[in-house]
């Protein structure tokens, strides 16, 4: 079995804003595109043009309808490794291939020592690991470890591919171990949540819950209904009379 490194202050992870995720899959495909040629290359696709197409993805999007007590809402939920602080997926590994980096907490798989036993994917309650049948190796989100420190990239690009691509700005990357980091402040401000914390794995990633929807006029600052003006000079209430209110209006061009 594999041991975890001592707890470190630096906890790199993602913050995902469920309030603005439209479920467009941009992050998932950008992830696939980067990583199929990156540290986990390839992310194999079986029967890619056939009846049973099935490939390895490190990030998948699910859309759910939930009852919010006010007519229901649709929530779009991107799912990838949460880079837990105390993950069983590491400790169950018989070869040490599954490991958590001491310097930043990123959970990775060493493809050279992975024997494809799948114990780690059984251990992960979040379904975040994907086995590459063709490669015989377990694959998972690397937090784009080959981007975030990559000195050949423009500093602005040293972030995971999913964050770089996200059109709505629903994803952020940073050090969740540093309370002063932008991501930590965002989590504090929006009351970000860990996924299923009761399981005890201490996920690093945070999800920001949907903001309360504003469905009442008062919440937009408006009166409940527009106040109809009394009818005009003709005194009647027929539609044709109602515009007499504008007879005396002095307008300028």
């Amino acid at each position: 079995m594999t041991s975890l490194p001592p707890p470190t202050d630096k906890k790199l992870g993602l913050v995902i804003d469920l309030d603005i995720c439209v479920g467009c899959h941009a992050c998932a495909v950008s992830c696939k595109e980067w990583n199929t040629s990156g540290a986990s290359a390839p992310l194999t696709d079986l029967d890619p043009y056939g009846a049973n197409n099935d490939g390895v993805w490190l990030n998948r999007i699910h859309s759910y309808e939930v009852d919010d007590g006010a007519g229901g809402m649709t929530v779009n939920f991107p799912r990838s490794c949460l880079h837990c602080e105390t993950p069983d997926c590491v400790t169950v590994c018989p070869t040490g291939a599954s490991y958590k980096r001491a310097e930043d907490g990123i959970v990775l798989v060493n493809p050279d020592t992975c024997i494809g036993c799948k114990l780690c994917s059984w251990a992960c309650p979040y379904g975040a690991r994907e086995f590459d049948e063709d490669d015989g190796v377990m694959k998972k989100c690397t937090l784009c470890v080959d981007r975030v420190y990559n000195e050949t990239l423009d500093p602005a690009d040293r972030q995971p591919a999913c964050v770089r691509a996200c059109p709505t700005g629903a994803r952020a990357f940073g050090d969740l171990g540093d309370p002063e980091s932008a991501v930590s402040k965002l989590v504090a401000e929006r009351e970000g949540e860990a996924l299923l914390p009761q399981l005890g794995y201490k996920p690093v990633n945070r999800y920001l819950p949907p903001r309360p929807r504003r469905r009442d006029a008062g919440e937009a600052g408006a009166a409940l209904t527009p106040q109809p003006l009394p009818s005009g000079a003709a005194g009647g209430d027929a539609a044709g009379d109602r515009f007499f209110r504008w007879v005396d209006r002095v307008l300028s061009r």
């Binding site: 041991s3 467009c24 899959h25 390839p42 020592t113 504008w246 061009r253």
Partner: protein
């Protein structure tokens, strides 16, 4: 056991990075393509680009798989078997171009109209439209007629702009955003970026849409409207605002024709036209002088209601009064429309109150001085921060033109057009209302071996501009600009094949299609279209004698071509995204862009635009040859992009013009222009001064700048058309006035729908089938991860959407005894199609919906014939008729908007019936499996894309 391996944290991922423009949909985002060992390794958004600012959608990131798709065409193909059999032989380009130019040349010398040239999702319409005009055929259009022409035309005939390419919300300042019926692949990255910003700023977002997915899922409020009733909803909002006097009359009289006097003389030839003085200037009533005055003058206090005597003794009333009478009618009361729209009256009233609050209580003030058209300086820009956006869900109905127009009228009444926080024009818009361009194609303009002397598409302003013969019949094959679709600004591509096969209004000799999957998801009534493409006359000849198809991929339509011209992928060619076509500008300045080849084709394919230029030269089309008859653009499309001038100093690209490359807009040809674009990331952008950012329609400095830049013909203010006089001119013709009147069978229809004020009427299919057994609506939308049919060949995108379900409201399904995963028949007046059910709550209960264009014909797109796209995916197209149900007398109109000819996809009415459990759990109808094309590569069993890039870069080396 915890030895942390060494991993390479700074792998060099590319040998080279080249900027270009995405073509995975119509957004035209800037991308950077990383190349390694000559192969495409990674595509990312270009951070500096005005469209996407660095982000990239799922389609854009999957561009690699499109580029390496096994469905790519490889070499020109000539049909050798029966049409539709897929029996082709590969031929050389010389033979292909020789055949094409022989066919085309013969037609041009005999009757140029016998060429029908229609170009689908073409991003080079400035070239293809001009090519058609030089050839001499009016039978040209792109896909707008079956997409969103209602939105475009209604905007251009009302405010001189519209949504998407024409304008955008003021995302930075708006306080309230109303989103109508948006297909989520339209303008997708800009809208997504903006929605994220609005949410962060706490702006209320209201989505009016029968379906709650995507953008609607993050809206504060989802208005689950019944399809085709958006006009009733908007009309009720207008009524509430009028009743409460929450309208901006000052803005209306400055920007619109609200105060122009309309002649009230029922039965007379000028009834309903504007009263004008001897010089033709429209008149208004000035309350200061109590006299008739030039409505365009500034020192007046114009009346907006009242009845005034004209010099000839007849009466006239201001346009605003007519509008108020229309919308104050109880027909549009919230209580009246609630049942029809499915939106409670209280919700409508509340949203009206919220609009009024945002517009009038949350005024936005920018301390930017500006000067109006009359030369008056204003110290600040003051705006009404309500913004709207609408697209195909509104457009693709037979009442779409008027509904779109109504949305613009709502914006005008709120004073929310091109102001801080409102809707903003993107240059080159606003244009005069409508743009001063008339369609060519009259009998005297179509002459053998001559160019047409005008563009095939334009904007009629009266019956005299129609393209009809003396008996009133259509002159174009698609009947655009006929009495059946007078303002068909984008043509009616959806009618071309059916009309051509029937010879109605006349047969054509050659149908030339580019990049439009007309034998599948781009047509209504697919079985009927396939029949039309293969129909033969008594002599055994095809009714459409010749068909040339150009595309990059093995779509369903390829099988029906006689000659296939294989295009390149978007990463293998030059393109230009031109101000002369559908531009990519922002509200703060014009922009254009190019594509450059980032890699060379590995197949015997040629860029379609190069082929058109070559054909133009072979045919000797005047614009394509020099005085001596030599090819004018021997270097193909890039040569044309740089050297073509549409008017002196105005070419396809506006940036880096002039001999020294320092001119913008207008300027001499610059031979180094493309190099300058490449250096700048393949785009050009011009930043307007802040004083030009708003009120462009009445902003003197903007109007003068636009004139000097070549975007406008003059610096006259752009007058919004609250009341549309061009529509009234058609109506007067229907009432028996003027030289050119509609034939009897069309008279009542023209009179009804050419109303100068917006109105709502029931969609035609629903109205025709009233009382029948088709109680539900069926609509489609495209997922954000797919663009039309292209996505299914993409190994990654088809893992997101490989089949489509019929989404049914849970309660509706319970009532019908239908459960999750059941297979059901969707039955319309046209036919039936089978699909599998998913139960949802986020849909209007009277509506079922599915993703569009996921269903594929077996054997197409390089997919295994057993792929889910073919076995479980289904198209609603099969049950949408291109014709409306028969009328008295047997005449059938096209299933289109009566004003613009826009295809009414979303008017579909259906019922659903549970399929017999014995029936195989797969879709129906199925069509014969298409055969693989000659030279098609074998489908790989495993795709290990990227493995080749890994050496030395992997973990634990």
């Amino acid at each position: 056991m915890s030895q942390q391996p060494e991993i390479e944290l700074s792998p060099r991922i590319a040998d080279e990075v080249k900027a270009t423009t995405c073509y995975m949909c119509a957004c035209r985002c800037g991308i950077k393509v990383h190349l390694k060992d000559g192969r495409v390794r990674y595509i990312e958004g270009n951070r500096d680009h005005p469209v996407n600012g660095g982000v990239l959608c799922a389609k854009g990131s999957a561009g690699i798989m499109q580029h390496y798709s096994p469905a790519r065409l490889r070499k020109p193909l000539l049909r050798v078997g029966e049409r539709g059999s897929g029996d082709f032989k590969e031929i050389e380009w010389e033979e292909a171009l020789g055949l094409a130019s022989d066919w085309l040349g013969e037609i041009r010398a005999r009757d140029p109209r016998k060429l029908a040239f229609f170009t689908g999702r073409d991003q080079s319409q400035a070239l293809t439209g001009w090519w058609a005009s030089q050839f001499g055929t009016p039978n040209y259009a792109a896909h707008g007629g079956f997409c969103s022409v209602n939105m475009a035309a209604a905007g251009l005939y009302t405010v001189g702009g519209s949504f998407w390419e024409f304008g955008e919300a003021d995302w930075e300042h708006t306080r309230y955003f109303l989103l109508f019926g948006v297909a989520e692949d339209h303008d997708s990255n800009p809208i997504k970026i903006a929605l994220g910003k609005l949410k962060k700023r706490g702006v209320k977002i209201v989505s009016v849409n029968p379906v709650r997915t995507g953008y609607s899922s993050i809206a504060d409020e989802w208005v689950a409207i019944r399809p085709g009733t958006d006009g009733l909803f908007v009309a009720a909002l207008i009524r509430e605002l009028l009743l409460a006097d929450k309208i901006d009359l000052e803005s209306l009289v400055r920007s619109s024709n609200a105060h122009w006097l309309v002649i009230q003389a029922p039965g007379e030839a000028d009834d309903g036209l504007f009263a004008r003085d001897a010089e033709g200037k429209p008149l208004a009533w000035d309350r200061n002088t109590e006299a008739l005055v030039d409505a365009g003058s500034i020192e007046i206090a114009p009346a907006v209601v009242g009845r005034f005597a004209l010099p000839d003794g007849r009466a006239a009333v201001p346009a605003f009064q007519l509008l108020a009478e229309r919308f104050l009618d109880d027909r549009y009361a919230p209580e009246t429309v609630a049942a029809e729209t499915g939106v409670p009256a209280a919700t409508i009233k509340r949203i009206a109150a919220e609009l009024a609050h945002a517009a009038f209580e949350q005024e936005v003030r920018l301390d930017v001085p500006w000067t109006d058209w009359a030369g008056r300086r204003h110290e600040a820009m003051i705006g009404r921060p309500v913004a709207m956006h609408g697209m195909r869900g509104i457009s693709a109905h037979s009442n779409g033109f008027h509904t779109c127009r109504m949305i613009h009228v709502l914006q005008m009444l709120l004073g929310a057009i091109d102001c801080p926080g409102g809707f903003r024009y993107k240059p080159p818009f606003p244009k005069p209302v409508p743009p001063p361009l008339k369609p060519a194609g009259r009998a005297d303009q179509v002459v053998p071996d001559q160019p047409m002397g005008g563009p095939p598409l334009g904007f009629p302003t009266g019956p005299e501009d129609l393209l009809v013969d003396p008996d009133g019949s259509a002159r174009r094959i698609d009947k655009a600009y006929s009495w059946e679709a007078p303002l068909a600004a984008h043509g009616l591509m959806h009618m071309v094949i059916a009309n051509a096969a029937k010879g109605d209004p006349y047969p054509v000799d050659l149908l030339f299609l580019y990049m439009a999957n007309m034998a599948w998801n781009s047509s209504m009534n697919v079985p009927g279209v396939i029949e039309a493409l293969t129909a033969k006359d008594e002599a055994g000849n095809y009714r459409i004698p010749k068909l040339i198809y150009a595309d990059a991929y093995a779509s369903e339509t390829v099988a029906y071509a006689d000659l296939v011209l294989p295009d390149t992928t978007y990463l293998e060619r030059w393109d230009c995204i031109s101000l002369l076509d559908r531009p990519i500008c922002s509200a703060e300045g014009p922009a254009d862009s190019i594509r450059q080849p980032v890699t060379a084709p590995d197949r015997d394919v040629r860029p379609f635009q190069d082929v058109m230029i070559e054909l133009g030269a072979r045919l000797g089309l005047p614009g394509f040859v020099t005085e001596t008859g030599a090819p004018r653009y021997p270097g193909g499309y890039p040569d044309y992009i740089v050297n073509h001038e549409r008017a002196p100093g105005i070419g396809p690209l506006a940036g880096w013009r002039g001999e020294d490359g320092r001119a913008e807009g207008r300027g001499a040809v610059n031979p180094d222009q493309l190099e300058r674009y490449i250096e700048n990331g393949c785009f050009w952008r011009y930043e307007l001064a802040p004083s030009l950012h708003y009120f462009k329609h009445i902003n003197r400095d903007y109007l003068e700048w636009a004139r000097d830049f070549g975007l406008l013909g003059s610096a006259e203010p752009i007058v919004h058309q609250l009341y549309s006089e061009p529509l009234q001119r058609f109506r007067l013709a229907a009432r028996g006035h003027g030289e050119r009147q509609p034939p009897e069978e069309h008279r009542a229809r023209v009179e009804a729908y050419f109303d100068p004020l917006p109105l709502w009427y029931a969609p035609f299919e629903e109205a025709a089938l009233v009382g029948g057994d088709l109680p539900m609506h069926a609509v489609t939308q495209r997922p954000m991860a797919m663009y039309h049919s292209w996505g299914s060949q993409n190994a990654w995108l088809r893992q997101i959407h490989a089949d489509n379900r019929l989404n049914v409201h849970r309660e509706t399904a319970a009532r019908l005894g239908i459960a999750e995963d059941d297979w059901v028949w969707v039955i319309s007046h046209q036919g039936r199609v089978k699909g599998q059910v998913r139960l949802v709550e986020g849909v209007n209960p009277d509506t079922v919906w599915t993703w569009n264009a996921i269903g594929k014909r077996a054997g197409a797109w390089g997919l295994d014939p057993k792929a889910p796209e073919a076995t479980r995916g289904f198209l609603l197209n099969h049950v949408i008729s291109e014709l409306l149900p028969e009328r008295a007398g047997g005449f059938r109109y096209s299933n289109s908007d009566p004003v613009t000819g826009q295809a009414a996809w979303y008017d579909l009415r259906v019922r659903i019936e549970k399929a017999d459990p014995q029936e195989a759990a797969e879709t129906a109808p199925r069509f014969e499996t298409l055969r693989p094309l000659p030279g098609a590569p074998a489908r790989p069993d495993v795709l290990r894309f990227g493995k080749e890039f890994r050496s030395g870069g992997g973990q634990g080396a």
